[in-house]
Symmetry: C2
Subunit: 145 residues, 2 copies
DNA sequence: TCTTAAACAGATTATTTTATCTGATTAAAG
DNA sequence: CTTTAATCAGATAAAATAATCTGTTTAAGA
């Protein structure tokens, strides 16, 4: 198998999109997020904790506590979430796993892959949570099959 | 961390490119491949065995044995190697990990990601081993730092 | 024919990723 | 003040991936 983002990152992106769909200030518990997205509660809880440390999410303890976005969803780009969880190594390392892959010593796919990769990077940099709100709401509405 | 291809697939692609750079008929031992590419011998050996089952590589046992391409390098596309090792799931599954991601119930990135993904697929389908021979030779020449 | 060097087969180990558990702290609400 | 429901912290378990080991079969070459 092959993967773009780790499970951690997928869940993190889902959760953060979910929060943005809820409304900026709204506090949502890990339990609700987990149930709604069908992902393990303890896992998403850990992920949101780490996003809290990263400053993308803020949390409130105690009864009626939970998570909310730390910034306006227009200020959170997908790449920020990816960077916080998986890091940006995928955008800097050789797709074929060759060492020292660089313009000086390019791997056979250096050019062609580089183009795709920078398109992907641009896309994740351009897309912010608020831009995706409508689509997120639609997706969430159809989640339970 | 995040990954496009598994280690298995990276090594497989490297090995197959190495074979194509050697010349179509030439038999190369797993030991030589492993040393030249700085990858674990037993691991690459297993991978080449599985590519032999897939019909992309052929093998010869006994002394002076080893591996060679089973077809002309113009007939082996990168996607064939990827399909044989990692499968094509990455080109069919939701980048955000949402279930039932489809044109009917698209995830927030369905469109934009779909475009990138199909560009990647096209690229891997267009590129054959022989087209990459020159670049592969160059990369191999600069391998030990 | 004997030695050597290779693929091959299957089991095992190690590492990383994913997921869960246990208990502590915190704060709302009766 | 007590109950309840949440985050949080750290340990642990389970699963997947990566890597290694052990021995067998095969074939070239001295």
């Amino acid at each position: 198998m092959t993967v773009i983002f780790s499970k951690k990152c997928e869940y993190g992106l889902q959760a953060v999109l979910f929060l943005s769909a809820k409304g900026t200030g709204e506090v949502v518990s890990a339990d609700e997020i987990a149930k709604r997205l069908n992902i393990p509660k303890e896992f998403v809880s850990k992920i949101l904790q780490s996003l809290t440390e990263s400053g993308l999410v803020s949390s409130r303890k105690g009864k009626a506590g939970g998570f909310s976005l730390a910034k306006h969803p227009a200020l959170i780009r997908l790449i920020d979430v990816v960077a916080a969880i998986d890091g940006l190594a995928i955008f800097n390392s050789c797709v074929l796993g060759f060492p020292n892959c660089s313009p000086d010593h390019p791997c056979p796919l250096h050019e062609k892959w580089g183009q795709l990769r920078s398109s992907a990077y641009s896309m994740l940099t351009e897309q912010t949570l608020d831009q995706l709100k409508e689509k997120t709401l639609n997706k969430i509405a159809h989640l339970e099959a």
